[in-house]
Subunit: 137 residues, 6 copies
């Protein structure tokens, strides 16, 4: 079993916000992260898959294929977007780093599985000081 990680990046706007709370309540709980005019980040995404080495090819999965799959399912939908308003799979979720990571897991698990490897970890960095990791359970 070997673990392979691909790094990708996307730049997006977001805010922490609950629709069923007043703006005052949102600001009180989430502070400046709830700015109604949005703010944004250069998110850094690490997708780790695991699998057996394919002996005839020497690798677990073709990195070009993995990268293309991440771009198609995730990056193209998140990059230069407003994560609260424009991302189908973030609908009805708090747009926190935690929730984005979990949603990315759910979006990537089926297509990654179809490559004959298993999704192992989604790591999402919001700033150089903060990141989350999700292992699917």
């Amino acid at each position: 079993m070997i673990y392979l990680t691909r790094r990708e990046r996307f730049n997006a706007a977001h805010r922490l916000y609950r629709e069923d709370w007043s703006e005052e309540k949102n600001m009180e709980v989430f502070g400046k992260c709830s700015n109604p005019n949005w703010h944004g980040h250069n998110y850094v995404l690490f997708v780790t898959v695991k699998g057996e080495l394919k002996p005839e090819l020497g690798y677990v999965v073709d990195l070009k294929v993995l990268s293309r799959l991440i771009r198609e399912h995730i990056i193209d939908k998140l990059d230069h977007k407003n994560l609260n308003l424009e991302v189908e799979f973030m609908k009805d979720r708090m747009v926190s780093t935690e929730q984005i990571a979990i949603a990315i897991w759910q979006e990537l698990e089926p297509p990654v599985g179809s490559l004959g490897v298993e999704l192992h970890c989604i790591r999402l960095e919001e700033t150089e000081n903060n990141f989350v990791e999700y292992f699917g359970k």
Copy 2:
């Protein structure tokens, strides 16, 4: 003469956009950077000042004072903000990395001068692949 650089960071939303153009024209010229729902970045700012060494103190300027000045004049006004809508000194400017850097220069030059040093360079990184430098002329 010695050069001292302080790094600070801010996370903000923006878009490239001209009000006197239609949305179609904006999208045609600026592409996804003109998304009307905004996107954002972790901007990294390097402020370089130059001056003579103060022999009795061993430094050009007190870093704590310089950092506080940058926070007061720049970071507090840009961090977790929408650069198009909420920043007084970006009014009537294209919110490009170039224009933000020039505006930061104009905001910082007077207070930096009052510390007895000269502003030398504003370097602003938008992503790990793009940055601009402005030397005031």
Copy 3:
């Protein structure tokens, strides 16, 4: 279960040294790391906590609260300090990266627990080439 990591930094002096050994013995075993006049590092600390997502808030723990807790219990006690002479919780320990990491775990586990999450890992980087990780057992 999701894992959240906060990065903090502190700059400190230290030496590897056993009081019950002669200076010669200390130098022989620990080399230049035992310099009696001290040396120092920019330590980089990664604190990883794990917990269930709080569904009403979208996160595991409020990052501002976690950061403040790490500053109060760790950074304020280690930053710009001599780790051998001035840190209560390093008394009677070898001031190695390993021992500092273990001591940080012991200091942080109770207050982190009071936030409703579990401390998962202390990662402490001494230089860009060396780091230790401690998982509490």
Copy 4:
């Protein structure tokens, strides 16, 4: 139990290639990574060992000893080399990041064990966007 990681680097040439395939087949499957004239990388290697703290010394293993061991067994054999042509322990293997990591594990496990610690992970970065991890099984 504590985990200690040492980072080392080596610069080398390689290609993805199967001798029993035609050049056309190699190029079709491996693309530009199969260029018969070679290409190369600045590989970054992270060796993680685990063990009990030696209480009298305060560390798991002497970093100077660990670093020297990695240099002798791995770096001196890979740095500024052609990984397909000049490395005894890569003979008859596909020279993929995965296979290099597994071979490094096999080379390092015995000598690391002789230091009284256990090899835990080989992490090998080929570029800033790609890395593999191998845990020995």
Copy 5:
């Protein structure tokens, strides 16, 4: 006048070598960098251009256009290549970091000029510890 920098990367094989010297002489002068079986690097290229701000667009030059131009003239010709054998514009040159940087300047200056900006600096990093800068004179 404002300075804009774009970072690009390429992975390539090379050796330091003079055809008119014996292998012994090459090894004696250039050491392991002259390995006849090649070695390689992840080169990091920073292209800095300077120009007046285009007031109607807010930038000096369209980054997408600049990036495409660098890819077409440089990256596509160097990435996953052998710099000694396969690069037209490196023919009859020592394949040192210095010479690669100067050659990149010569290749880029005309097309960059056609964008209405001036090429200011080529910075080429061979490893995290070594880089060269060339300003065209």
Copy 6:
């Protein structure tokens, strides 16, 4: 003319301090940087030299020679040392980043000149947020 930069690192203890001031005055002016028990840093040093390309060798100066020279004149004297107590060339100077950079310039200029190149810049990073540059005048 081409510019070549070599990065080196050293870990050291220091404090900001004037002997002719009381401890109270030192603490008042320099704050925690004046802790009498010392603190320390992982300093990162960039030495930039400039010169004509040696056409027969393809480089400005042999990097191995430059690196050895920096190690001999600077790193061996600063690494794992107390910069206030143990460094001949820091005697009677404030041990600020600015003064260390200037002293390194003065130490390196003669031997660098003997390599047939000119010292261009000393850049010294104290933390990831602070650095100074000195160009010799």
